[in-house]
């Protein structure tokens, strides 16, 4: 069972991702509505993978990514991005995000990406 933490400011997105993942046998151990909460939840639950929205109020996904990776360099974070956010995605990748998924996404994009990344090492 792969444990996932979902970080997104939109409740709808959190739910949508959660549905997709749980349908495919992932376990969403927690969710967070901003970067700060994401960091805290990560440290608390130590999930296998984090899905991280990029644009969030207070603390962006990239800031959170950096902090999480700082705390745990092996952390596997997959960014969720909207179209046209190339600059942000680049920054996330440079800062250690494992991969990224572009909204609107296909369900298998999420599941397969997470599966592959989870099995990595």
């Amino acid at each position: 069972m792969i444990n996932v933490l979902v970080v997104d400011d939109a409740a709808f997105m959190r739910l949508a991702i959660k549905n997709v993942l749980e349908k495919s046998g992932f376990k969403v151990v927690a969710d967070a509505k901003n970067g700060q909460e994401g960091i805290e939840k990560y440290l608390e639950y130590r999930p296998d993978i984090v899905t991280m929205d990029i644009t969030m109020p207070d603390m962006t996904g990239i800031e959170a990514l950096k902090k999480i990776r700082e705390a745990d360099p092996t952390a596997k974070v997959v960014m969720i991005s909207a179209m046209g956010q190339e600059r942000m995605v680049k920054e996330a990748i440079i800062n250690g995000a494992k991969s990224f998924i572009v909204k609107p996404y296909k369900e298998e994009h999420i599941t397969q990406t997470l599966l592959k990344i989870a099995s990595d090492k």
Binding site: I94, S99, H109, Q112, D120
Partner: protein, 675 residues
């Protein structure tokens, strides 16, 4: 990319290039041995050559060569990265030379469709491995030695899933992840992160990555397939040198296209070619068979030209303008002929250089230090002759070291320089090239030679009548070998007669001079070319013959009274106080002719190796450059005709047979009955 013998030209190129590389490698190693240790340059160069060989061998699917070159590359990689590691230069040289011999042998084997010798390759790999382990053990720098695990070059094309978006950033993350196990990463397109335009290229053609890694193919394949958003991956083994070029090409044109497999092969082929010619754009390599054909055609042109210009239909006509044009044509043709000839000329340099290796190997094995001096390497000889020259030369040099040069102690005792010297010298003289092999060793012992010749029954005339030179020349006779013990190098059961055979087969001659205690000089006289000779055409009955001008001393009408009979009633002629035997061609060949009396015909004095004889013919037809053609196969199949070295066409279209001067001098004279 596994190209199983696909495209002969590619294979040819591979063979050509690999042989060239090994030759260069040998040169480097021999040079460094003189300097006592590998310079940084030499190490890099050796590394590069091994790398190239490995890459192309893998591409051509010759795993034995590839893995051996790979191992050798490992070794030099290690030496390069660990500057202070102590290694035995001479041992490494030995190893690399062995590998090179193997590769050379294998590559030549490809042409003959020989099966690869995997055992030998494995043995060499093991040997290299052992030595490498020893070095690694000695080296304390573990981080480096881990890094040195040699890398296999790969080429990977990543195809992303449709609609995954921001392919350039995904490509970047691939590279980022790959850095953990891949090195020398080169991508097409490059700078994916900074340039969003690249997204379209990647979408269309995939993301191309060249890299090296110590990971195995299958391991990489599964690693890559496990990357997110990868639809497909095309992973191939390749050679990074070629790829770097490909990359350059592609980026300059600003776009990447994924060619079909055959196109790719073609592309790489041209790339290899470019690689070859990059050193000198003005030089191209031509298949020797094409040159042969050209030479032949020019020969035909020469003949046709003289057939046209001397056409019997034109006889008695006043053709001023025609004659003028014909002369111009003749001029051009002669120029063309010279040019084609010069195209076939190759300097002796490589042939001479090869002796370095022999000298090195032998002096090591026999414990004799030898000083090799070369001069006149730039002397040029026809390509077809060079091929016949290499073996005799090696044979002679081996003989010099093995039999000629004394051991160091003996030399010192004899008040000679402790180190023996072998000199190879080449120079042009007339239409011949002379090649001298000289050693300052013990010289030939004439007593021993005579004794041996007596025992082997190869003496051709009474001992008392033999000159020193003739005695020395006995060593070139078949069945002669003075060294009682067979040594690894010279005594392979074949004597120096092989040298003689080889040289005479190309129309040359061998002579030897020796002063006891001072050394021996073997001189090989070789014609510059065998394709076109200056010949004297003569007539006997209805037949035409051609004698090479170089063999002719003079021709003359015999004076009355100069002819006399020897004790057996055979005709001899006295010219300026010297006596010569007369060979009458019509008797020799049983040709019907009206000219049978010496006074009616003409005598031609031929000379070879200081032996002379007079040839009797009906008349001289004149001197002409003739194109030598070998006897047609159907004649050769029926029987071997003695005394003819080939045939040619004369200006009027008739056939003339070219006489072999050696035969004219040495064959038994047939005297007709009653003469």
């Amino acid at each position: 990319m596994a190209v199983q013998n696909s495209g002969d030209s590619l294979l040819e190129m591979f063979i050509f290039e690999t042989l060239q590389n090994t030759e260069q490698l040998e040169q480097i190693i021999l040079d460094t041995e003189k300097e006592d240790g590998f310079s940084n340059n030499a190490i890099n160069e050796i590394f590069r050559i091994m790398h190239t060989i490995k890459g192309s061998a893998a591409m051509m699917s010759y795993p034995e060569i590839a893995s051996l070159a790979h191992k050798a590359e490992d070794l030099f990689y290690f030496i390069r990265e660990n500057k202070d590691v102590k290694y035995s230069c001479s041992h490494v040289s030995d190893l690399i030379l062995l590998c090179m011999d193997y590769i050379n042998n294998e590559v030549s084997g490809i042409r003959e469709n020989r099966d690869p010798n995997a055992d030998e390759s494995n043995r060499l790999i093991e040997e290299l491995d052992n030595y490498l382990c020893k070095l690694k053990g000695a080296s304390t720098d573990t981080t480096n030695s881990e890094k040195m695990l040699a890398h296999i070059s790969y080429k990977a094309i990543f195809y992303f899933e449709y609609g995954c978006e921001m392919e350039n950033i995904r490509a970047y993350s691939i590279i980022r992840d790959m850095r953990e196990y891949a090195y020398d990463i080169v991508t097409v397109p490059e700078n994916v992160l900074d340039n969003d335009e690249t997204t379209n290229i990647i979408r269309k053609s995939g993301f191309l990555v060249y890299f090296t890694s110590d990971k195995a193919y299958s391991e990489l394949q599964s690693l890559f397939m496990n990357m997110p958003f990868i639809r497909d991956i095309d992973l191939t083994l390749t050679d990074v040198d070629i790829c770097l070029q490909a990359e350059n090409e592609n980026t300059t044109s600003g776009r990447v296209t994924v060619e079909s497999e055959s196109e790719k092969i073609k592309n790489e082929e041209t790339l290899i070619k470019q690689d070859n010619h990059s050193s000198g754009q003005s030089i191209i390599s031509i298949n020797i068979s094409k040159l042969d054909k050209l030479m032949n055609l020019v020969g035909e042109v020469v003949i046709s030209e003289s057939m046209v210009a001397n056409n019997p239909d034109l006889k008695g006509l006043e053709l001023q303008s025609f004659q003028k044009e014909a002369l111009q044509l003749h001029k051009i043709i002669v120029e063309m002929q010279d040019l084609v000839m010069s195209m076939r000329l190759v300097p002796l340099t490589t042939t001479f250089q090869k002796t370095h290796r022999i000298v090195r190997d032998m002096s090591k094995k026999l414990g004799k230090e030898v000083n090799l001096e070369l001069s006149g390497e730039d002397t040029e000889v026809d390509k077809s002759i060079i091929e016949h020259l290499s073996d005799p030369l090696m044979h002679l040099v081996r003989n010099c070291i093995d039999h000629g040069l004394e051991s160091e102690e003996v030399r010192i005792a004899l008040n000679k320089p402790a180190i023996g010297t072998i000199t190879l010298e080449a120079y042009n003289s007339g239409s011949n090239v002379y090649i001298l092999v000289h050693d300052d060793g013990r010289g030939l012992n004439k007593e021993k030679i005579l004794e041996k010749a007596r025992n082997n029954n190869i003496l051709t005339k009474p001992e008392s009548e033999m000159t020193d030179k003739e005695i020395c020349s006995l060593i070139f006779l078949p069945g002669f070998s003075t060294n009682a013990e067979v040594s690894e190098f010279s005594g392979r059961g074949v004597g120096l007669d092989v040298v003689m055979q080889n040289i005479t087969s190309i129309g040359g001659s061998v002579s030897v001079e020796s002063t006891e205690g001072m050394g021996t000089t073997v001189t090989m006289k070789i014609p510059l070319t065998v394709a076109i000779i200056d010949g004297m055409n003569i007539k006997v009955g209805a037949k035409n013959f051609t004698i090479p001008i170089t063999a002719i001393r003079e021709s003359f009408k015999p004076e009355n009274g100069s002819i006399f009979m020897d004790t057996e009633g055979n005709e001899m002629i006295m010219v300026r106080g010297e006596c010569y035997a007369i060979m009458k061609l019509h008797k020799q060949w049983d040709i019907e002719t009206e000219v049978t009396e010496l006074s009616d015909g003409i005598l031609i004095m031929v000379e070879q190796e200081e032996k002379r004889r007079c040839i009797f013919a009906d008349c001289l037809l004149g001197q002409q450059q003739v194109v030598v053609k070998s006897m047609p196969d159907y004649i050769k199949r029926i029987k071997k005709v003695e005394g003819l070295s080939g045939c040619t066409l004369l200006g009027d279209g008739s056939i003339s047979l070219i006489l072999d001067p050696a035969w004219l001098i040495n064959s038994e004279i047939k005297y007709g009955k009653g003469e």
